[in-house]
Amino acid sequence: MDFRFSEQEKAFQKEVEDFIKQELPPRYTEKSVYWPGGYGTIAEFEEIIPEIDHFRHRLGEKGWLTMSWPREYGGASRTHIERAIFGERMSYYRAPGPEVAVLIGGPTILRFGSEEMKREWLPGIARGDTKFWLAYSEPNAGSDLVSLQTRATEDGDDLIINGQKIWSSGAHIAGYAWMVVRTDPSAPPHKGISLIIVDNKSPGITIRPLMNICNRHSFNEVFFDNVRAPKKNIVGEKNKGWYYLMVALDFERLITPIGGFKRTLEELTQYARHTKRNGQALCQNALIRNKLAEMAIQTEVAYMFFWQTAWMLDRGLMPNIEASLLKLFTTQLSQKLAEVGMQVLGHYGQLDETSKCVPLRGRVCLGYLDCISALVGAGTSEIQRNIIAMRGLGLPLT
């Protein structure tokens, strides 16, 4: 065992850190109100911000957007530990990192797409030009995604799509939908689903904003009314989409914004050290010390889940349940951290980011709202527990 980074890993960590400090827009970390684990305060979901786009392009130039891809497709052939180091530092600085096209679309195309599809899509994704939004959830297909109803029928070289997607984060700023549709309604539910890329500009698509609980526009509902998409945009084989989706879960294992937890905890700790109430620093209060210490402990545990997952992937071991453990644990931490943040800040915790006297830019107030999404988005805590119990422990379905 050796919990230290190797010399190479250390050098890479420094390179990432130097890059972020140099390229991230000035005071970006301080200005960002992103709450770790949440989905409602991710700045790049809200609007196209040129400076974020620029930063992402610079990442693309370094080959870092697609760090785990092979070099021939614009990747950097990095280890998973190195990917994890990158993700840790990026999230620590709240830097806008890789999005759906890079994290899910690209790796799936690499694995299952045709040569033509690879040539068409991968370069743009690697550069940071091509952005996808995840068109999975529907009004009646959330946790039970396999029951999705959006229908795609063949018409010559095209598919014609009708239906509705919802909770579509960033649909309004991405160029394409990375979409699952039902192509064979007569087959068993998971055998009639296809994965397809659909251009947002296609006639018949209506994107309607849904304001999230933080009163921000991060997600949407999207309507498809006789939308045509070329068949060549089907990823892999028709009706095998569900299988690709399951495999793609593997690609998302290290997405957790682990550094964000550390950063937020550090900010709360600083606040407790420097804020006095009735002449006494908050950090002298035994209860506050206890609660912040507990958050530090849980953050350390979360980090261990994170590194362990990366380490297993590098050794070719299948971290079957580790991704679920990581998601479950960190999202609970997101909520606990918000709760502790509220307790540390007391009355000041309720102040909105635009209010007079607001501490920490209102992050805690927003985080208290946003953390609700952490335990719901990308597979609820209950779904994660189901996966751990059934896939990990072999507990029976019936």
């Binding site: 065992m1 050796d2 919990f3 230290r4 980074f5 190797s6 890993e9 530990i81 700790t269 407790a272 050290r273 950090c283 035994a286 506050i288 010390r289 206890n290 912040l292 210490a293 507990e294 530090a296 402990i297 849980q298 350390e300 545990v301 261990m304 889940f305 590194w307 362990q308 380490w311 050794r315 349940i321 679920s324 453990l325 479950l328 644990f329 209950e382 994660q384 527990r385 189901n386 751990i388 119990a389 059934m390 990990g392 422990l393 072999g394 507990l395 029976p396 379905l397 019936t398």
Partner: protein
């Protein structure tokens, strides 16, 4: 970064699992729990033959030259199977202290005998205040010719009922800074004036009250330097804390496995209870606690093993693992239902030890206070 055990450690783990399963069945655990001595000399001899007692001592002292990390692996298995007896007291509290702070002569005379199983040791640290800080040590040792005379009461001393020697921490000099002026003495447990009373405990482990009434100890039995005993104690508390975590991780793993097995077998409403989501989610929560505890414990154990500063990591590990083990055994009991509430069932063996482990070397609130301190709060 390398987060895996090496080949030798994996072998040690496997052989320990097999050996303990065979040699220390739950029937023996129960028998020892109910006995006054709390250990089996026969099993002790076999463990000595396997090299376990000297695992973490250098070869020159009759040991196997293993690391603290190796010892953690073994302790995890001891926690998994449950091994009653003075291994922890003798090897971790006694042996490692002598190895770290004893004179060459002390090491040469004591460590090989620990390794061969001849000598049982323990550490008499805590007193009726039941705290792990220097200020709580009221037991006094006064110089008298070539000897020291110890007076005081030590409480919650593990395995003092069978130990041949007791490492006794006593105040030899009153000081403003309470960490100065403490000395560690190696005391023959047969010395006149020592009175050992077995306490009856939740985990049915053998904790004692040890009264020192004018107990004479030769000057050469000082471990380390006169008045400079606290760093030795602090070092051994740190090692013992991680060692306890390793034991608890093993126990939690066992509780999880027993629960999952039962959940697959037990049928109610015409289906295995493990098919109910409530039970599945309990199990998932248990995995989270078990795995998290293991990762964080091994990180702390590795740091201690490497001799790196580990105050923060050890406190983190103990705060988390102590509460996690308790949570895991509670959920396990919930899964087992009424059968788990019987003396015949094994789960209470773990449930009892989870609480004892949580308390030992400072509970989670105590550890969080250290973490807060280390965070700069």
């Amino acid at each position: 970064m390398d987060l895996g055990l090496n080949e030798q450690q994996e072998m040690l783990r496997r052989s320990a699992r097999d050996f303990l399963q065979k040699e220390c069945p739950k029937q023996l655990v129960r028998q020892l729990d109910a006995s006054d001595s709390g250990y089996s000399p026969e099993l002790w001899r076999k463990m000595a033959e396997l090299g376990w007692l000297g695992l973490a001592f250098p070869e020159e002292y009759g040991g196997n030259g293993g690391s603290f990390l190796d010892l953690a692996v073994l302790l995890e298995e001891m926690g998994y199977n449950i091994l009653p007896g003075p291994f922890f007291s003798t090897v971790v509290l006694g042996g490692l202290a002598i190895l770290a702070a004893g004179s060459e002569q002390q090491k040469k005379s004591l460590l090989p005998k620990i390794a061969t199983g001849e000598l049982l040791l323990t550490l008499a640290l805590t007193e009726p205040s039941a705290k792990y800080d220097a200020a709580s040590i009221k037991t006094k040792a006064t110089a008298q010719n070539d000897e020291y005379v110890i007076n005081g009461t030590k409480l919650f001393v593990p395995d003092a009922n069978v130990a041949h020697y007791i490492l006794c921490v006593a105040r030899t000099q009153p000081k403003k800074n309470t960490e100065d002026g403490l000395t560690v003495f190696l005391v023959d447990s047969k010395s006149p004036g020592i009175k050992c009373t077995l306490l009856k405990t939740l985990a049915r482990d053998k904790q004692c009250e040890v009264v020192f009434d004018n107990v004479h100890v030769p000057r050469e039995n000082i471990i380390g330097k006169l008045n400079k005993g606290w760093p030795i104690v602090a070092d051994i508390i740190q090692k013992a804390t991680v060692a306890k975590c390793a034991e608890m991780v093993g126990g939690a793993q066992a509780a999880l496995e027993m629960s999952v097995k039962y959940a697959k077998e037990r049928v109610q409403f015409n289906r295995p209870i493990g098919s109910f989501q409530a039970i599945q989610h309990y199990c998932a929560n248990m995995v989270t606690d078990v795995d998290g505890s293991r990762f964080i414990t091994y990180k702390a154990a590795w740091k201690v093993s490497e001799g790196l500063p580990a105050t923060y990591d050890v406190a983190v590990a103990k705060a988390w693992t102590g509460e996690a083990y308790a949570r895991v055994t509670l959920l396990a009991h919930q899964i087992f239902g009424a059968i788990g509430f019987t003396m015949d069932h094994d789960m209470h063996l773990y449930y009892r030890r989870a609480k004892a482990g949580e308390i030992a070397f400072g509970d989670s609130d105590f550890q969080r206070a250290i973490v807060a301190q280390e965070m700069g709060l």
